[in-house]
Symmetry: C2
Subunit: 426 residues, 2 copies
């Protein structure tokens, strides 16, 4: 069957998508700001029931896996092929919005509907997954469900407790999962043909460059460090400027150096941020004695992160020495970048470009795709975020843009369904 021909028949119903988004935004904790649906809560349960119902209506067979992910399955015509997986999440941060994650799950359901309505059968099975607890959870862990699916949820994590003393293991069980079967059910590399996720950009690039769709080049790696600048707390009135060891003034110089190093890097996708800082003793009449700050560097090429860090460490040491300040640098965490394979990028770009003006950009945030990359090639499509905002009540994507994203995703699914088996394209 001709992909182009089939593809033009998969036109998402914008009103139906809008109505789905609005329905889901009704299952929220109204005592919290924005649209708050935290995992493992009664609001999450209700939204899951509603989602399972929509999956069944769309012709999917619904089950909950060991990690408590909600999965809708559409069998394929060739039983020998692994599934094409579409997924995202419907939990939100506290005070979050109505689009982040949500549109990715609804896209999967809409695509199942369109396939059914148009009588199109796929060769591959299609799985639509609502991953459990993608956002940072009460357990200090994010992407809980996708971790669980690929066997990356060790006992140490399962034994962590929330404020009420409930373990993550218990929370997953209450959510319908079977923690005791996590190891048995853990999916192996090659167990999915491809993983595709539609997500809001959460940044300003598509909007500011006038694109409606974005093909994700990869998910950046993140290197985080903590820096402590120690000076001497002194009386702000009695200590002459020349006799000070002012930790905050030192921070100003060091912070500017960091910004300059991140901006001057040739790799355009590098971002570096000092987001969090503590000033001590933080009294208006005391010369600051210590500043502790966290910084992070993100890039698709983590060797660039290393390079910037090395240059920063050297420059910061020189600044501190010249000011009589003590400097301590400690790594906090390092996550590797997740590349999108060139062939996958190309197929997705083709699908997107046939629908709307398309840019290519990195994902600066992490996603469930980070975990699923352990078992399958991944690919992501972004739609614009108004003002680049996300994780806040103002988070917004026009429904027409959501529909364009779903249409591009549907075309990508058909394209991968027609592609040779993994490895066959090489």
């Amino acid at each position: 069957m001709d992909v182009g021909n089939r593809a033009t028949r998969l036109k998402p119903d914008t009103d139906r998508l809008r109505s789905d988004i609005e329905a889901l935004s009704g299952f929220v904790d109204e005592t919290k700001p924005g649209w708050t649906r935290r995992p493992f809560t009664v609001w999450y349960d209700r939204s899951r029931n509603w989602l399972a119902e929509r999956m069944r209506e769309a012709g999917l067979t619904v089950h909950v896996d060991a990690a408590s992910n909600l999965i809708g399955l559409l069998p394929g015509s060739d039983p020998s092929l692994p599934p094409i997986m579409i997924g995202s999440h419907t939990d939100t941060v506290t005070g979050g919005g109505r689009f982040d994650g949500i549109i990715g799950v609804l896209a999967g359901i809409e695509i199942a509907r369109l396939l059914k309505e148009n009588g199109i059968a796929l060769r591959h099975p299609l799985e639509v997954v609502d991953f459990t607890a993608e956002e940072p959870s009460e357990y200090g862990i994010s992407t809980v469900g996708s971790r669980g699916m690929v066997g990356n949820l060790p006992d140490e994590m399962l034994e962590r407790t929330d404020a009420s003393g409930l373990t993550l293991r218990e929370a997953i069980a209450r959510q319908g999962g079977s923690p005791e079967k996590l190891a048995v059910q853990a999916r192996k590399p090659g167990s999915a043909a491809v993983y595709l996720e539609l997500h809001i950009e959460q940044g300003p690039v598509l909007e500011q460059t006038g694109h409606k769709l974005g093909v994700v080049l990869g998910i950046v790696g993140i290197h985080r460090y903590r820096t402590t600048i120690a000076g001497e707390p002194n009386h702000a009135g009695t200590t002459p400027m020349s006799m000070r060891r002012d930790a905050l003034a030192g921070f100003c110089e060091i912070g500017l150096a960091f910004e300059r190093l991140c901006k001057q890097t040739y790799a355009a996708d590098v971002v570096g941020t000092i987001g969090k800082l503590t000033n001590e003793p933080n009294a208006s009449n005391v010369v600051p004695g210590a500043v502790i700050f966290d910084m992070e560097i993100r890039s698709l090429d983590t060797s660039v992160c290393e390079e910037i860090y090395r240059a920063f460490a050297e420059e910061a040491s020189q600044i501190a020495a010249a000011r009589g300040l003590d400097l301590r640098l400690e790594p906090l965490s390092k996550s590797e970048a997740i590349p999108v394979e060139p062939k996958v990028k190309e197929r997705i770009y083709e699908a997107c470009a046939s629908v709307a003006p398309t840019a290519m950009l990195p994902s600066g945030a992490g996603h469930d795709a980070n975990q699923i990359a352990r078992i399958a090639p991944i690919g992501m499509i972004f739609v614009p975020s108004r003002g680049g905002r996300s994780h806040c009540p103002e988070e917004w994507t026009d429904f027409e843009d959501v529909a364009a994203g779903v249409e591009a995703l549907a075309r990508a699914v058909l394209s991968f369904d027609d592609a040779p088996a993994p490895g066959g394209e090489a």
Copy 2:
């Protein structure tokens, strides 16, 4: 009588001073760090009783005034003359030390003892004052007692309450004061011949320049401002460097400009400090959306403070504009500088230089002298603070240095006692 001759007989007893300092450091709240004796507490009451006893032993007549200041009076031989006043305070900040304020009150008592022991009678009455609550109190007011003495404790302040709901008016009454008599007892300009205070430097200048005594040139004026830098909080991963409005990066540039302006000023005594800042939302993965910081500029010449502020405001505005940040500047408070009259400075310098190597320097901190300046010429003598530290348990001044300060103060008292009446020297 010859001043020089009398003066050489007034040799403070270092062991007695050490023993007094140690005795007072026993009246402290041992549940708090350092040597904590907050005003209006049981520990303050006990220290006051002990002090009153020492005053009586030294031949002083003791009373508590309307503002609850503890005053020891030694009559003079000429009933027409106003008193020479020596004063300081014995309350401490929480976690404070054993010298700040304390040595000034003990110096007055020691001088009364020396006069008595040497049979020296002054022409002027001598008042030794332990001012109530000089340090910032629970009521958000400092120099409570000296304010009260000069009629600068308005009802608005008296009606403020501490955490338990007690008003300052009630606290003063409990401390033995008579708030209803504050207006009647308020001292008028000219009601003291001179006010002299011995204090620790609270800074590193005497120690680092090898001086044992410091003559205070004046008490600096303090101009305080609050600056708000508003940018846009954005996802640290998804917002390219070129699309950011990073309030903290802007602060770095603005903070450095402030430091440079304060350092480059010709007036050597200028100090400028950014001591307190808030970064919002202060999360490691969010580009800072707002920074609010308090800055202060101190100088004996407040026109210099104004000049620096004007230059800062202009430069900060340019920096903010170039970065797409919004800037708001608001004045918080302005206190005028308190000059020490040239003739007073000269007399004190003579007294000090006859005892030990003496420097002249501004007082960067406020004192009870700020208030008493409303009714009398003021003068201050500083003794070294080890490492420039104060308001902390490590606060330290060698007992020999305290004794040198007391001796210089005694000589100054004799010198002013012999001086013509106020105005007579002009």
